[in-house]
């Protein structure tokens, strides 16, 4: 019953999405009323929503006759993780993907139905059609299982450990798909005639939506890795992580090149707008097809060839539509070296280089295999030598912004003296008192440079200030935790102590339990530092249904540092336990930085929406609206 409803709604989506594309194309070409087209888009949204509700209901009611539930549901799974198991495997997450995509389409359809929007809706509807087709033909989660099993294995145990599981994937999807609207608008602009000139004004708030959700999603994902995977790190330059970083980089560049209406940077704007979505598609192909090995690959699927075909189609379309030479001349304001124009383009060039670097490192194993016959690997060391120095340069460039808005070179230099002194003093003090390594040291200096420059900014509550401050805090936390993190691993008898810097850990006891056949071992540890003693209980769990062992780290978080404990092994007689103790300084600052940066994005978005509502109709070409967001 639920299975039929789900399949029917997917089929309905597969009919309404192309219908919407054709109706919107009619609006764009001939200009009739947009109502039927809007209704078709709304129907596609309804179809996607029905499918999601049907699958969630099947999961919650343990209807194991539905294939996806039989593969990913389980009676022992708590309600929260039953809900989140919708996106713990490919077929279900494709439904969430469709829901977000259709919702964005319906939102975009609400605006004034000019030719720009109509053409953009055609693009979005074609993308929606493709994903509906994927879901119906290649990854239908509603296929029946006969006979229906009595119970299922539940989702991957790693995906049942952390509450971030409920927020992180939906946020990332919202961010990924947010890039489809700027992409569609960039493709629509050359087709839409005079209405096409406004595309940036429409695209920028959407890029902000994408940027905020991506930032929050990536940082939450790092937090999830840190709290669940048990190796004590938050970023490993893994293909799946890289795939989420790529669109973030281009969207960040896009938000900067479109400042001040993006005048004089038309090519940059359209290339960056397209790059975001193309990288999302490429990343989906890389991570969903099993093409590259990843620790986060929870959702391998056979969809690789289809996704790759669609990536190529999208690249081709984007090149044909936006690559055309344009004729109409634009006024050319000269931009001096010290101007927002220079900084913004330098930033874009650097971010694009980082994106190219990360992309090369991610796909190289794939490219090298047919040539050399061996499967090469690109480890974190490569990114530390390439992407990290470039990121420090981006940070330094962000620190220059306070000097861009003042008149006169002397005044600009004066603005930079204090931040510069702060940065240099940081490098000197930290470098002379400890040896954190060049990358971390320059990171500290650049972060201090940015933060000192922003400290005098008035008003403080500006998107650019928050965004840059968040980035600097993030850099500070990353540099500190990489340079000063210490870890040690040892097999302890009960009563023995392990010590790292000023933290010592004593093994109190080892407990075994096996509730409902799920074996778990816990080590009770007394953690003492600075005169106080607390108890931490890291665990090892074994999931017989999936035949996997999962380490559950115990994290004693603090402002200054985290004490991170992992239980690695326990002897058969429970007399000894192998424990890893890590002391990670300033990891909390990373999460705080992510939150501050996201807040900056949300503020920019709120202003953009407000401005959008209050904007009076203006005479055409009177003024290119400074679209929302960060005045540098």
């Amino acid at each position: 019953m639920l299975a039929d409803l789900g399949t029917a709604s997917l089929a309905a989506g597969l009919l309404t999405a192309p219908l919407a594309a054709l109706l919107w194309l009619r609006v764009a070409l001939a200009g009739p009323a947009a109502r039927p087209a809007r209704l078709a888009s709304a129907a596609a949204l309804l179809a996607a929503a029905t499918a999601v509700v049907a699958l969630e209901t099947a999961l919650l009611t343990h209807d194991f006759s539905v294939r996806f539930v039989a593969e990913n549901g389980g009676r022992h799974v708590p309600v929260y993780y039953t809900v989140t198991s919708l996106w713990s495997a490919m077929d279900g997450s494709l439904l969430l993907w469709l829901l977000v995509l259709a919702a964005y389409a319906a939102l975009l359809a609400r605006g004034r139905p000019d030719r720009l929007r109509a053409y953009a809706m055609v693009v979005v509807s074609v993308v929606t059609t493709f994903f509906f087709a994927l879901s119906v033909f290649a990854a239908n989660p509603f296929r029946a299982v006969t006979p229906a099993p009595a119970d299922g294995p539940g989702p991957n145990p790693l995906l049942q450990q952390h509450p971030a599981m409920g927020v992180h994937p939906p946020l990332l999807y919202a961010g990924y798909l947010g890039t489809v609207v700027p992409f569609a608008l960039a493709l629509a602009a050359p087709l839409a005639g005079p209405a096409g000139r406004r595309w940036l004004r429409v695209a920028r708030p959407w890029a902000l939506v994408s940027w905020c959700t991506l930032t929050a999603g990536i940082v939450l994902g790092a937090w999830w890795s840190y709290a669940v995977l048990g190796w004590g790190g938050y970023w490993a330059w893994d293909p799946v992580e890289n795939a989420s970083l790529l669109p973030w980089l281009t969207t960040t560049a896009f938000l900067h090149t479109t400042l001040g209406g993006g005048r004089g940077r038309e090519r940059w704007n359209s290339v960056l707008a397209c790059a975001g979505f193309l990288l999302v598609l490429l990343g989906t192909f890389l991570t969903r097809s099993g093409a590259v090995a990843s620790v986060h690959a929870f959702t391998d699927s056979p969809l690789g060839p289809l996704l790759l075909g669609f990536v190529l189609l999208a690249v081709l379309t984007a090149t044909v539509l936006t690559g055309r030479p344009r004729t109409a001349p634009a006024p050319a304001p000269a931009s001096p070296l010290r101007s927002r124009g220079t900084a913004v383009l330098g930033n874009a060039a650097l971010l694009l280089t980082i994106a190219a670097t990360v992309l090369t490192g991610t796909v190289l194993p794939l490219l090298a295999e047919p040539v050399t016959g061996s499967r090469a690997a690109v480890g974190a060391g490569y990114y530390h030598r390439t992407a990290v120095p470039l990121a420090v340069l981006v940070l330094l460039l962000a620190g220059v912004t306070p000097a861009l808005r003042v008149r006169g070179r002397a005044e600009a230099l004066r603005r930079l003296v204090l931040p510069g002194a702060a940065g240099l003093a940081t490098v000197a003090c930290v470098g002379l008192s400890s040896r954190p390594g060049t990358a971390a040291l320059t990171g500290f200096g650049a972060a201090a440079f940015v933060l000192a420059g922003l400290a005098t900014a008035r008003p403080l509550l500006r998107p650019a200030v928050l965004g840059h401050a968040g980035l600097a805090l993030l850099a500070l936390g990353v540099a500190a935790s990489t340079a000063y993190g210490r870890a040690e691993e040892r097999t302890l008898r009960v009563g023995e102590t392990l010590r790292v810097s000023d933290v010592s850990v004593r093994l109190v006891s080892v407990q075994r339990s096996a509730p409902a056949g799920r074996m778990a071992v816990r080590a009770r540890l007394a953690v003492s530092s600075a005169g106080t003693t607390r108890t931490a209980v890291p665990a090892l769990r074994y999931d017989p249904a999936r035949e996997t062992a999962v380490t559950v780290p115990a994290i004693d978080g603090g402002v200054r540092r985290d004490v991170y404990l992992t239980l690695l092994a326990v002897s058969a007689d429970s007399g000894t336990a192998t424990v890893r103790l890590a002391v990670n300084p300033l990891v909390g600052v990373i999460w705080a930085g992510g939150a501050v940066a996201t807040a900056g994005g949300v503020l920019a978005l709120a202003r953009a929406v407000r401005r959008h509502r209050h904007r009076r109709p203006e005479p055409a070409g009177a003024r290119t609206a400074v679209a929302a967001g960060a005045p540098a």
């Binding site: 075909g309 055309r324 694009l352 480890g379 060391g381 002194a421 390594g437 040291l441």
Partner: protein
């Protein structure tokens, strides 16, 4: 005013010098904490997905780290150690591809991107050479728009049809084997360890290799020999019996069993060893065993 400026410049000069000193000190060789971890970070764990030797917890990684530690203790340079590993296990053990062939792309692409991006930025900034602000494509006439509409409709049908047809031919991705066969790596490492007479550690690696290839009796025999030499006679006996369970007349199985029994059940040992001599009278160890039984 001038004096103040002089003070500022002086202060900044001092800070720049101090910062440079800090950078130099931090970049110096003593800044590196652990030479073994340093070398290990450049090598890949053969049994894991995308982890370096430094961070992996697999037993193979542990023994490879031990090899690195030994070589570091012998005073070998990181490059030499890397070369040693590459010679044994191929380029795949490197955490980063060598800078030749496709590996060059890792450096060429970023360089080209930076150069291209910089040039494009410079071109955009040069006044007078602006690109068009607005796209200007003439609006299609009704006839051509009808063609466009029908073409789009056909394209959509083709898109859906392609997915529908292709979906039936998709095969799920094969589960990829780990980059280098962990069993092979374990075996090589174990043989190295035996060469260094570290039989206990070698036995551990043979066990590791056995979990990957549980049916390989050659490995099981090696394990039995290693255990025998590590003075773990009961373990050696158990492994030998497993081998004999599969191949009752295995000469090597009988040999190890007999030698192990000399410790565990001295009464049965001569019987087993005589059986060994009966099965394989020309075995290289036969003369030694005859001598043993004779005395």
């Amino acid at each position: 005013m001038t004096r103040r400026r002089l003070l500022v410049v002086l202060g900044l000069g001092v800070l720049v010098t101090a910062a440079l000193a800090g950078l130099l000190r931090s970049a110096g060789p003593a800044g590196r904490a652990d030479p073994v971890a340093e070398v290990a970070a450049g090598l890949r764990c053969p049994a894991c997905q995308g982890e370096s030797l430094a961070e992996s917890r697999s037993p193979i990684a542990a023994s490879m780290r031990q090899v690195i530690a030994d070589q570091v203790a012998q005073g070998r340079e990181p490059e030499q150690i890397h070369r040693w590993f590459v010679q044994r296990y191929g380029d795949e053990v490197l955490a980063q591809p060598p800078t030749r062939g496709p590996g060059l792309l890792l450096w060429v692409v970023p360089a080209v991107a930076l150069l291209g991006g910089g040039l494009a930025a410079a071109r955009t900034l040069r006044p007078g050479r602006r690109e068009a602000a607005g796209p200007t494509v003439p609006h299609g006439r009704p006839r051509s728009s009808r063609i466009v509409w029908w073409l789009t409709a056909a394209g959509l049908v083709a898109l859906v049809a392609t997915v529908a047809v292709a979906a039936d031919r998709l095969t799920p991705p094969a589960t990829r084997p780990p980059p280098a066969d962990p069993a092979v790596v374990s075996l090589r490492l174990a043989q190295d360890l035996e060469g260094q007479q570290r039989y206990g550690a070698a036995a551990q690696l043979y066990r590791e290799a056995l979990t990957a290839r549980p049916d390989d009796d050659a490995i099981r025999l090696r394990l039995a020999f290693a255990l025998l030499r590590a003075a773990d006679a009961p373990g050696a006996e158990r492994s030998a019996r497993e081998v004999l369970g599969h191949t009752p007349d295995s000469p090597d199985g009988l040999l190890v069993l007999g030698l192990a029994q000399r410790t565990t059940r001295p009464a049965e040992a001569p019987v087993t060893l005589r059986r060994f001599l009966a099965v394989a009278p020309g075995h290289p160890a036969a003369t030694e065993i005859r001598r043993l039984l004779g005395s």
